[in-house]
Structures are given as structure tokens and as C-alpha cells.
């Protein structure tokens, strides 16, 4: 990485490290009940306490010239702080800004709130029943989105099948759990809002804050330092409205809000999911039809869910040749914290279902899981259930690379005594954002320095390094001459978001576009000096030259100087057009398909049910690898991250109260969980396009492990995480697949 030296010196600065003169500390009062009414909220005592500068409550909103209470990029259903109703434990009710955290904490304790509790509902299936309490009056069945896909005659497909198999898979709420907590600093200066925040989508944050405060987007400046991890949890809009609103009351002084770990747990989660998948298959292994019904528990507010749940529709079917497909994906309000993107967004839950199910199908037919997939997996040129033609797809190569790494065809030592070994595999397809845009700016100075202005967020994935490499190669300058600036919405151009593994592809292509323009400009300014037509000039290795006259050449710097220019500035852009019909799911789901696979060997202790992953081999399709070291870290990181929700991670609630809001009771994978052997393969193609690799080997992890558990001990686990208790219970119950 460009700043590797700073990283090992502990010198990288994150949002949590921000210090501004005269800065106040914000603390949030959070609701203690899962659902109900606020019948009294009295903050008058808190306002007079020593050190307290501002106390923000819902009463501060919707006044002339003041901020609006309700926001939401998709559905404006969420209050900045609760007004009359509260909908989950941990929902913000008031915010205090004070001189220090002790004063702020004391003030929180002095705010009196009385609630009247209503019945609450926590599971997505329960929330859809007629008896369930209603969270939002305009959605009386608690359903706020219904994504659909209709392709071919599903019933005819089931009728033509030799076997029709239906299974239901569940996946609980989980934590993105970046080790750096959410932090934002806000300051109002002359009617302009400045926010420093650890956010993955600076322009989304800017747009939402501008709407809340009724000011133009240019009146909001978002600056994003390095992130100490994001994984989707810092996507969309998170704590920025809270801190911007309390700063608005603190007139001019900067205010910082850093969440505690317990607050992290109630700020954003992975979607809970219940997924029923039904497939028709012929004895020869041909698939005839598939129906997928997905119930997404989205928490109390829509947040980023509408877009994510629509995106889950094409992500839920799997990379298989199936002539008839029907998908229904429901987004459902529950009395739990809002859910949003989680590394491998929606695909993790979907792949858990369709790849466990694929294994069930193969076993039922008595086929080898790799052979069964080889027979059915989609190849380039074939049609997906969205109606679009697949291009540059290498699902089978990913599977084969993972299988080969593991030694799929080698004999397996089945183990002895209580320790039984098994092998499993899984493959996944994921769409990126169908319609989005990335812009950048390149500035070449006369001293040969190239500066890339980009709103791509550096969150550990090494995006700034990869983009600098792309710029250096395209402009033909040494990497050491390239600097990356951003994100800062006052100076770096628009980018939709750093998520969905889109940055290397989208921003990388924008950089190539800018580099092309920069070279054109260099040709134009050098042409009159060299007395050749601009088209005849080559721009390579830091020089502009005429191929036919080797002496006729000059450096970029010389061309600028002799043209009387200090610098050349160009912009670059890459945009994709696509989208699916909301009623039929037909259209273009993605500009390119994300592809990954995993294969593993596990050991299952039949006396305790404990599952240990001994070896894991992962493969993803990279199109063109920019930085092999960073790319391997993505593949590895996905596997380790994926082992969390596969084996360990589950937010456990009792009546809406989280029982494990800390990293002791909620376990993340450590070195003692890491497989003894890890393999990573990155596949490239002659087409040479950049493909996203930030998530591809994550969704296969849980189903590959579950399939290996089945191979080892013959029980099919359909609930995540695959805990020792679940495996042991399945073993005792004798439940087989």
C-alpha cells in the first residue's frame, strides 16, 4: 500500500483521531423499549447542567428555518431523533453536546423520558401476520418493498421435473463490526455544514444532510479520512444527521460523536433472512425450474433496504441454467435496529440458501457436487433469468480453481474416533450497482507530479493504491509521482459510493478515461513545439515523442513549461446504465458479474458438534489484477470475515433487548479460528476489464462449510451460524438431508 510505512508506525489518522479547537463531545440518549410512545420527554434540567452546550430533541425540528425531522434516501420514514414513537431498543431520543464526555454522560442521565409500551414484533415472518403490531401506518402489513422476478413457466418446470425439492434457510442479524467505531465531527461555519466522517458514501451523506437542513448540497462539505474498516456498516447515512443536528444547536463549535461498542450494535446490522428455495430437477441433473421467496427483516426503518432488497432478487437465484424462475423478495419492518449493507450484501444470505440447496440436489441425485455444478453452471453467452446475456463469466473456472487447490479429486482421510472430516464447495454470483457513476480529476504539474482527486474511500482495501497504480500506468509515470487526494466533496468530484466492490471497476475506468484525455492534451500542447501533428505523437514513459523521428521528444514537464502552463487538469467519468423491471425482474442487473468460489475441508467432533475449518481454498474472477498482494488480501479477508457469520456470529435478542452487545459475547474470528491452510486464486481474462473482488469469496464460505459438514457427518444445517449446539442437535436427532 502507498502508505504502508505509516500503517506500521500507527501514524494513519482515522475519524476517531480528529481534534478541532474548541471541540465538544456528543452523547446520545437511547430508547430502552422495543416499541411504544414517548409520553413525556423533559430535557430542561440537562440543559442547565455544567459543561452542557446543547441538548437536541425532536422539539428542535420542523421549525421555520430549522432542520426537518424525517429523512431517508429511499423512504423518508426515519426521524433524526424519535418524536412521539420509538421503534427499537437503542433508537436515539436526544443528543447532548458538552465540554467533555463526563458532563455529556451526566446530562443524559438528567433527561427524563417516560414511555408507554406497545406490543412489538421481531421476526420477519411474524411481522407479516395480521395480528402483528404495525410499525409505520402507511405500511399496515409491515411490508415496504416487494421485489419480483418472473421468467418462464415455473409450474410447467416443476411438472416436468423428476424431483422437486424445497428447503428453507435462515440467517440471523449480525454485526459489520469494524474495529474503528462510527465517528463523525460536524461544525457549522457561516451557514455551511462541514462534516468529517468515516463514511463509505460521502455524496449520499451530503445529499441527505442538505435535505434535512434545507440547504443546497454545495452548502455541505463531507471530508472522509481513512476508515478503520467499513464492510458496509459505514455505507449510506449513519450517525451524521445526529451530530450535524446537535452541532447546529451548538452554534459554530465543532462536535464529535464516537459510538461505544454497545451503540455500534444498535446502529446498523446485517439483514435477518428467511429464504425458501424450491427447485425442479431431472434425474440426469438438468434443472427445470426454481422458485425463491425471501423474507428480509430490515429493522425499524427502511434505510438502505429498498435498493438492497431489490438487488437481492437477481442475487438469489444462483449462477445456474434454469429455464423458469420466480422470485419474490419482501422487505419487512421489525422492532429491531435498522439493517443495511454487510460485506457480500444480500448475496451472503442468498448464497447460503442456494449453495446449500445445490448440495442437497446433487446428493439426492447421487452426483458429485462439482460434477453437478459443472453440468449446470452458466457460461458466457448464455441467458440469465433476468433475460440478459452473461458475458465474461468464469464461474466454473472459479469452482475448479478452488477445488484444485483443495485437492477435490484426491482421496479424503475421513478421520477416526470422534473427529470426522468432510469436504464442501460453493460458488456465487453477485451483481454490482446497475446504474451508477464515478468521476475523477487528474492534475499533472510541470514538476511531473500527478494528483488524482477521487471520492473513493480508502477503508483498508487499498483502493487508493490500486487507483494510483492504474493512473501511473495509464499516464506512463512512475507510481512514486502519483498522489491521491480525497474524499472531500468540496474538491473531489462525484462518486456514488465505495461499496458493492465497484471502485476498481468504476473509478478505475474513470481514471483510464481521464488519463486518455490527459494524454490527448499533452499531444496537443507538444505538437506545435515538436512541429508534428498531435495524432502522430506517442505518449509513453513520461515522454512525448514522434515515432518516426526519435530525436523529437520531450518530457511532460518540458511540454508544460514550454507551453507556459503550470499544470494540466482533466476530468474522467464512467457511468453505467441498467436496471430491472420492478414487476418482472427482466433487464440488466449489472454491468458485470461478480464471481467467486470456495472449497474447504472441515473436521466435525461428533461428541461436541464443534466444527473446525482445516483448509479453505478460495478463487475469484478479477478480470485484470491491479495489485496481486492487495488482491490476495481481499480473497483471504473475505474467507476469514465469512467464517464469522458462518460459525460464530449472531446477535441474540430477548424481547428486543440485545443480549450480546459486546465483542466478548459476540465473537469475531481470531487467529485460532483461521484455517491451517488457506489458498487464494485470482482469475484473469484476456478481455482485461477490472472486476470487483472485494466480496467474491465471502458468500461461498458458509455454504461450503455446511456442505463439508454434511459430507463429514451427514447432517444438513439450515440455520446460521453453524454452532456446535446446532450440529450436535442435528446429530442426535439423526436429521439427514
Amino acid at each position: 500500500m502507498l502508505d504502508a510505512d505509516a500503517r506500521v508506525r500507527g501514524a494513519v489518522r482515522y475519524a476517531v483521531d480528529l481534534e478541532l479547537p474548541d471541540m465538544l463531545v456528543a452523547k446520545v440518549l437511547r430508547c430502552s423499549i422495543a416499541h411504544g410512545r414517548i409520553i413525556r420527554l423533559d430535557a430542561s434540567e440537562a440543559e442547565t447542567m455544567p459543561g452542557v452546550v446543547a441538548v437536541l430533541t425532536a422539539a428542535d425540528f420542523d421549525q421555520p428555518g430549522g432542520p426537518s425531522l424525517m429523512y431517508g434516501a429511499n423512504i423518508p420514514d426515519q426521524p433524526v431523533v424519535a418524536r412521539d414513537r420509538v421503534k427499537y431498543v437503542g433508537e436515539p431520543v436526544a443528543v447532548v453536546a458538552a465540554q467533555d464526555s463526563t458532563s455529556a454522560e451526566a446530562a443524559l442521565g438528567a433527561i427524563n423520558v417516560e414511555y408507554e409500551e406497545d406490543a412489538a414484533v421481531y421476526g420477519p415472518l411474524e411481522a407479516m401476520t395480521a395480528a402483528a403490531p404495525v410499525l409505520h401506518a402507511d405500511h399496515p402489513d409491515n411490508r415496504f418493498v416487494h421485489g419480483k422476478l418472473r421468467h418462464g413457466d415455473v409450474q410447467a418446470g416443476f411438472d416436468a421435473a423428476d424431483e422437486v425439492i424445497e428447503e428453507t434457510f435462515t440467517s440471523p442479524l449480525a454485526q459489520q463490526a469494524s474495529l474503528e467505531p462510527h465517528t463523525a465531527v460536524a461544525q457549522w461555519t457561516d451557514g455551511m455544514l462541514n462534516v468529517w466522517t468515516g463514511a463509505q458514501a460521502p455524496y449520499t451523506v451530503r445529499g441527505v444532510l442538505a435535505e434535512i437542513f434545507g440547504i443546497p448540497p454545495e452548502g455541505v462539505r463531507i471530508i472522509v479520512p481513512n476508515l478503520g474498516g467499513g464492510y458496509g456498516g459505514k455505507g449510506h447515512v449513519r450517525i451524521e444527521p445526529l451530530v450535524a443536528a446537535v452541532a447546529w444547536k451548538a452554534t459554530g463549535r465543532p462536535v464529535r460523536l464516537t459510538l461505544s461498542r454497545a451503540e455500534e450494535f444498535v446502529t446498523v446490522t446485517k439483514h435477518a433472512a428467511v429464504i425458501t428455495i424450491k427447485t425442479g430437477v431431472k434425474r440426469d441433473g438438468t434443472l427445470t425450474a426454481r422458485q425463491v421467496t425471501l423474507y428480509w427483516g430490515a429493522g425499524a426503518y427502511a434505510d438502505a433496504s429498498p435498493g438492497l432488497i431489490r438487488a437481492s432478487v437477481p442475487r438469489s437465484v444462483g449462477p445456474y441454467r434454469i429455464p423458469a424462475v420466480r422470485v419474490d423478495a419482501y422487505g419487512i419492518y421489525t422492532n429491531l435496529p435498522p439493517a443495511a449493507a454487510y460485506r457480500g450484501a444480500m448475496s451472503s444470505q442468498c448464497t447460503w440458501a442456494y449453495e446449500s440447496h445445490t448440495d442437497t440436489l446433487a446428493r439426492r441425485l447421487g452426483m458429485d457436487p462439482l460434477e453437478f455444478r459443472r453440468q449446470n453452471v452458466l457460461r458466457s453467452g448464455e441467458q440469465y433469468c433476468t433475460g440478459e446475456t452473461m458475458h465474461d463469466v468464469h464461474f466454473i473456472e472459479c469452482l475448479e480453481a478452488a477445488a484444485e487447490g483443495l485437492g477435490w479429486t484426491q482421496p479424503l482421510k475421513r478421520g477416526s474416533g470422534p473427529a470426522r472430516h468432510g469436504r464442501g464447495m460453493a460458488v456465487m454470483l453477485k451483481s454490482t450497482i446497475a446504474r451508477s457513476k464515478s468521476e475523477c480529476r487528474l492534475v499533472l504539474d510541470a514538476d511531473g507530479t500527478l494528483t488524482l482527486y477521487t471520492s473513493t474511500v480508502e477503508m483498508g482495501q487499498g483502493a487508493h493504491t490500486a487507483l494510483a497504480q492504474i493512473a501511473a500506468e495509464a499516464v506512463a509515470l512512475p507510481l512514486a509521482h502519483v498522489h491521491v487526494v480525497g474524499p472531500d466533496t468540496a474538491i473531489t468530484p462525484y462518486d456514488a459510493t465505495t461499496s458493492a466492490s465497484r471502485s476498481t471497476n468504476m473509478m478505475g475506468t474513470a481514471v483510464l478515461d481521464a488519463a486518455g484525455r490527459l494524454k490527448d492534451r499533452l499531444r496537443q500542447i507538444a505538437a506545435p513545439i515538436l512541429e508534428v501533428e498531435a495524432e502522430a505523437l506517442s505518449v509513453e514513459r513520461g515522454e512525448i515523442f514522434d515515432d518516426s523521428e526519435p530525436e523529437s521528444r520531450m518530457s511532460y514537464g518540458e511540454a508544460l513549461e514550454r507551453s507556459g502552463l503550470d499544470s494540466i487538469e482533466v476530468t474522467g467519468m464512467h457511468a453505467t446504465q441498467g436496471g430491472l423491471d420492478p414487476e418482472t425482474g427482466q433487464g440488466v442487473a449489472t454491468p458485470h458479474w461478480h464471481q467467486g468460489a470456495g472449497a474447504c475441508e472441515v473436521e466435525v467432533d461428533i461428541e461436541t458438534g464443534k466444527v473446525r475449518v482445516l483448509r479453505f481454498h478460495a478463487a475469484s474472477f478479477a478480470g485484470r489484477v491491479v495489485n496481486p498482494s492487495l488482491a490476495r488480501l481481499q480473497n483471504d479477508g473475505n474467507v476469514i470475515f465469512g467464517m464469522g457469520p458462518a460459525l460464530l456470529e449472531e446477535m441474540v435478542f430477548d424481547q428486543g433487548q440485545l443480549l450480546n452487545p459486546n465483542l466478548s459475547d459476540y465473537m469475531l474470528p481470531s487467529l485460532s479460528d483461521a484455517p491451517e491452510e488457506m489458498g487464494s486464486r485470482l482469475l484473469e481474462s484476456s478481455a482485461g476489464e477490472f472486476h470487483g473482488i472485494g466480496e467474491m469469496t465471502l458468500p461461498p464460505v458458509a455454504p461450503a462449510i455446511a456442505n463439508a459438514v454434511f459430507d463429514a457427518v451427514g447432517v444438513r444445517i439450515r440455520e446460521l451460524p453453524i454452532t456446535a449446539e446446532r450440529v450436535l442437535r442435528a446429530l442426535k436427532g439423526g436429521a439427514g438431508g
Binding site: 506500521v8 474495529l179 474498516g229 479477508g637 476469514i640 465483542l663 485460532s672
Partner: protein
């Protein structure tokens, strides 16, 4: 008044002895490599060395460090040159977001002082108290192996 040595320098601070050492090092001395992750001593992010032993600074009261010798990553390099463990982490790209990296590096320094040539099981057991959510564990193991043999 609390007095202790930090990165070779003696500091006498007028700080509440009941404050977490983490806060005092960050806020009073500006040592930003000391970072909070979980706040309850289980993630290893805030690891520092106190008299050569790796401890969680979020759980240690500042007053308990009275008279002790504290080392943070800022004090690890000598005259700007990276410590061999830092160099090994850099050479093996053993980080992504790097929020956890100072804690890992100090835990590795403590391990190699105790066991200069640890086997892999020892490394895994010793570093299991440090979490890397980005999942760079393979590279971290490679870095520790290199630092141990180098």
C-alpha cells in the same frame, strides 16, 4: 499526579488515576496509535507494552501504571528506522485498514521476547487475543514467522 515512562521519556501527568490508561495516552500525550476497539479488553486493538508485557490499555487504570515503563508503537522505531517486527509486517503486507496493526505489532514484540522462535501453535495462541476484522491473518502469520527467523 501520575508518573511513568512512555517511549523512554518520563512524564508526570495531572490526570485522574481512575481514567483508563488508553485515554490518558491518547488525549494527554497524543499517542494516536493506541486505539480503542471493544473497550473491554478482548480485541487487542489497544495493546501496549508495560514493563515488556502486552496489556489492554482500555482496561488498565492510569494510576496502576505509576512508575512503570510503557511502550507504544510510536516508541518502537529507533531514529526513524522501523523495528524488525514493523519491517516484517510491512514486508508481508500484514494489514489492511491497519486499525489493529499497532496492537498486533506490540503483541508480536512481546511474544518474540518471550519465545524468540515460537512454533505456529504458539503464535496462534499468543495472538488469538488480537482481532483483525479485515482478516489479514495469513499475512500476519507470515510476518511473525519472518520476524522470528530474522
Amino acid at each position: 499526579m501520575i508518573e511513568f515512562r512512555v517511549n523512554g521519556e518520563v512524564h508526570a501527568l495531572d490526570a485522574d488515576p481512575a481514567r483508563p490508561l488508553l485515554e490518558v495516552l491518547r488525549d494527554e500525550l497524543g499517542l494516536r496509535s493506541v486505539r480503542e476497539g471493544c473497550g473491554i479488553g478482548v480485541c487487542g486493538t489497544c495493546t501496549i507494552l508495560v514493563d515488556g508485557r502486552a496489556i489492554s490499555s482500555c482496561l488498565t487504570l492510569a494510576g496502576l501504571a505509576e512508575g512503570m515503563d510503557i511502550l507504544t508503537v510510536e516508541g518502537l522505531s529507533e531514529e526513524g528506522a522501523l523495528h524488525p517486527v514493523q519491517q516484517a509486517y510491512l514486508d508481508h503486507a500484514a494489514f489492511q485498514c491497519a486499525y489493529c496493526t499497532p496492537g498486533f505489532i506490540l503483541a508480536t514484540v512481546a511474544l518474540l521476547q518471550e519465545a524468540p522462535s515460537p512454533d505456529e501453535a504458539t503464535v496462534r495462541a499468543h495472538l488469538a487475543g488480537n482481532l483483525c476484522r479485515c482478516g489479514s491473518y495469513r499475512n500476519i502469520l507470515e510476518a511473525v514467522r519472518a520476524a522470528a527467523s530474522g
